[in-house]
């Protein structure tokens, strides 16, 4: 497909976006091979090196339990990045199903589901995640669910919007005229054509999911200590940060770098997909 090649070519020229992609891929590799990369056990406590400053033995120092912060950040990619990616995958799939149904069939299903989504969207997103994670409790899967609900509504709306825009396109009329079943029309013709806005939304979504996840963990919901999620690490070291700033500095940097990488990648994708910017 030449349109895709064109897009990739434009994306490759965007140096900032490529840097973002590089960081993102590197972090995925780190998450997969965490046990090989981390110098020590992220849960092993060593009370002799409690709150010790960065040194050659502990690259980023140790936290209040004497755990090696560098190893915890390495393992943290599994939780923070894993959670961010899972939230986007789950909410995109759920949102696609809902959005495709309401967008394509319209009518009563559309009216009812849209009103339900209005209710969800009138609660600020973090507030919603906070309430849901209070109900569900802490842990990876509960947090995943708490963060996915709001995004599902967002991606369903986005898909519905783009389907509404193309409902009267000629190629859909043609599909109809060829006696193509509704399911086949949705899968073969509608979804591939609504793909681009979804991709941009998803990339930016990983960043915001990581941010929300770390915020939840910071206030003691979400994923809690001793699990090395980055927000949870900051939360547990919070009382020591004035004397020992390294305990919150490094986990925060890890979040910031990841969000930065995904934001510039998302920007790059959006620009590459925008035909107006073609030059």
């Amino acid at each position: 497909m030449s349109a895709n090649e064109e897009m990739i070519r434009r994306l490759a020229k965007d140096r900032l976006a490529m840097l973002g992609l590089l960081i993102f891929v590197a972090e995925i590799i780190v998450a997969v091979f965490a046990p090989l990369i981390a110098p020590s056990d992220p849960f092993a406590m060593d009370f002799t090196s409690m709150l010790s400053a960065p040194s050659s033995a502990h690259l980023m120092g140790c936290d209040e339990m004497g755990r090696d912060i560098f190893s915890r950040i390495i393992y943290g990619t599994r939780y923070s990045l894993g959670l961010g990616i899972s939230v986007v995958v789950v909410s995109t799939i759920a949102g696609t199903i809902i959005g495709a149904i309401v967008g394509y069939f319209g009518g009563v299903a559309d009216a009812v589901i849209m009103r339900i989504m209005d209710v969800f969207q009138s609660i600020p997103s973090l507030l919603q995640s906070v309430v849901i994670s209070v109900v569900l409790g802490t842990g990876f899967f509960n947090t995943l669910l708490a963060l996915s609900i709001h995004r599902t509504v967002g991606s369903a709306r986005l898909l519905r919007g783009s389907i509404m825009g193309m409902r009267h396109m000629e190629y859909l009329e043609a599909a109809d005229a060829l006696n193509c079943s509704k399911l086949r029309t949705i899968l073969k013709h509608v979804l591939p054509n609504s793909f681009t806005p979804m991709i941009v939304y998803a990339t930016a979504g990983i960043a915001s999911a990581i941010m929300s996840a770390s915020t939840l963990s910071f206030i003691g919901l979400g994923i809690i200590a001793p699990t090395p999620e980055w927000g949870a690490m900051i939360s547990s070291s919070r009382n020591y940060f004035i004397e020992y700033p390294h305990t919150v500095l490094f986990p925060g940097l890890a979040i910031a770098i990841t969000v930065f990488a995904l934001s510039v990648l998302g920007d790059g994708l959006r620009d590459a997909l925008d035909p107006k910017l073609k030059n």
Binding site: P124, L126, V264
Partner: protein, 317 residues
């Protein structure tokens, strides 16, 4: 257009009631019985049951729900806090004011710094000033608000000892919290204003203004900026959502007794009425803010005004 907004305002009523219903039901699903938490550890079964009656938890779910809805929406009575046994309607007033103050300060900070960064970037496009402003914006987007807050406390309260690290009092207590909450807004405004300024600067009326011999300053601030601000209004909605969420966390860090801190304390104490009230009120404020954003957008952009005026009205968010 008036009809459209009247309709939107009327729509808010069922939506807010549904939000209340949703939150009330979710609160009942939380594991852990508030009555059990409130009585002492060695309380007898009878004391515990009495507590349940006192809190109204012994009644069937639907009776509780009905009472809650009529009290909240007909009498504007949010009930009593389980913990302090004081009227929430009375307690919430000053807290709401503090959260709103923090929000307004954060919004003002975000707007001013965002506009300045955006204009600087757009008027020096592809020069070092542009890169610098956009790097600042990207850093602002990437930093979690709670982490930025801790760093700000570190720098301004501990190292420089300029500003208080927590508590309430004069305006100086609000500066660091407002910056932490507003930082994300600064960054998004700066990026939006840069791109819409660049769109506007190339247009004919800006060329006309230049050829009339106006100074560059007049061209930018009188002709280009007002038009570049129009698309910025749409992103205020997203920023507000972020801000309400952010204030929950930031208030706990700076110990500002606003709605966010009230909510978190309520959650930790299983204080259902407090949590319900905070979520419902924050959602109402959020809905009103979103409505005002839409209204402002329709007011300033004649194209949108025309679309609302025509008979075919479609809701867009």
């Amino acid at each position: 257009m008036l009809k459209y907004f009247a309709k939107r305002i009327l729509w808010m009523i069922p939506i807010v009631i549904c939000v209340a219903l949703l939150i009330f039901s979710l609160m009942r699903l939380i594991p852990g019985d508030p009555a059990r938490m409130l009585v002492s550890r060695d309380a007898t079964e009878e004391e515990y049951l009495n507590k349940r009656v006192e809190l109204g938890l012994d009644e069937p779910f639907l009776t509780q729900l009905g009472k809650f809805l009529t009290d909240t929406f007909l009498h504007f009575d949010f009930g009593k806090s389980y913990m302090t046994k004081t009227s929430i309607s009375r307690d919430i007033g000053p807290r709401m004011v503090r959260t709103m103050e923090l929000g307004l300060l954060a919004a003002a900070f975000a707007m001013i710094t965002g506009i300045l960064l955006g204009i600087t970037a757009a008027t020096h496009v592809k020069k070092w000033q542009d890169s610098l402003c956009m790097i600042i914006a990207l850093v602002g987007i990437s930093m979690p608000a709670f982490w930025a807050a801790l760093l700000l406390i570190m720098l301004f309260s501990v190292k420089l000892q300029l500003l208080p690290p927590s508590g309430i009092g004069g305006i100086q207590y609000y500066i660091l919290p407002a910056i932490s909450v507003g930082l994300y807004g600064t960054a998004t405004f700066a990026r939006q204003i840069r791109s819409s300024m660049l769109d506007v600067i190339g247009s004919d009326y800006v060329t006309t203004a230049r050829s009339k011999g106006l100074t560059e300053r007049e061209v930018i601030y009188k002709h280009a900026l007002p038009n570049a601000l129009i698309p910025t209004i749409t992103i205020i909605g997203g920023f507000l959502g972020q801000m309400f969420g952010g204030s929950i966390v930031i208030e706990t860090i700076f110990s500002i007794p606003g709605m966010g801190l009230y909510l978190i304390t309520g959650i930790n104490n299983r204080d259902y009425p407090v949590v319900q009230t905070c979520v419902i009120l924050l959602s109402i404020i959020f809905c009103i803010a979103m409505l005002l954003v839409d209204l402002a957008y329709a007011m300033v952009d004649p194209r949108i005004k025309a679309r609302y005026a025509s008979s075919k009205v479609k809701r867009n968010k």
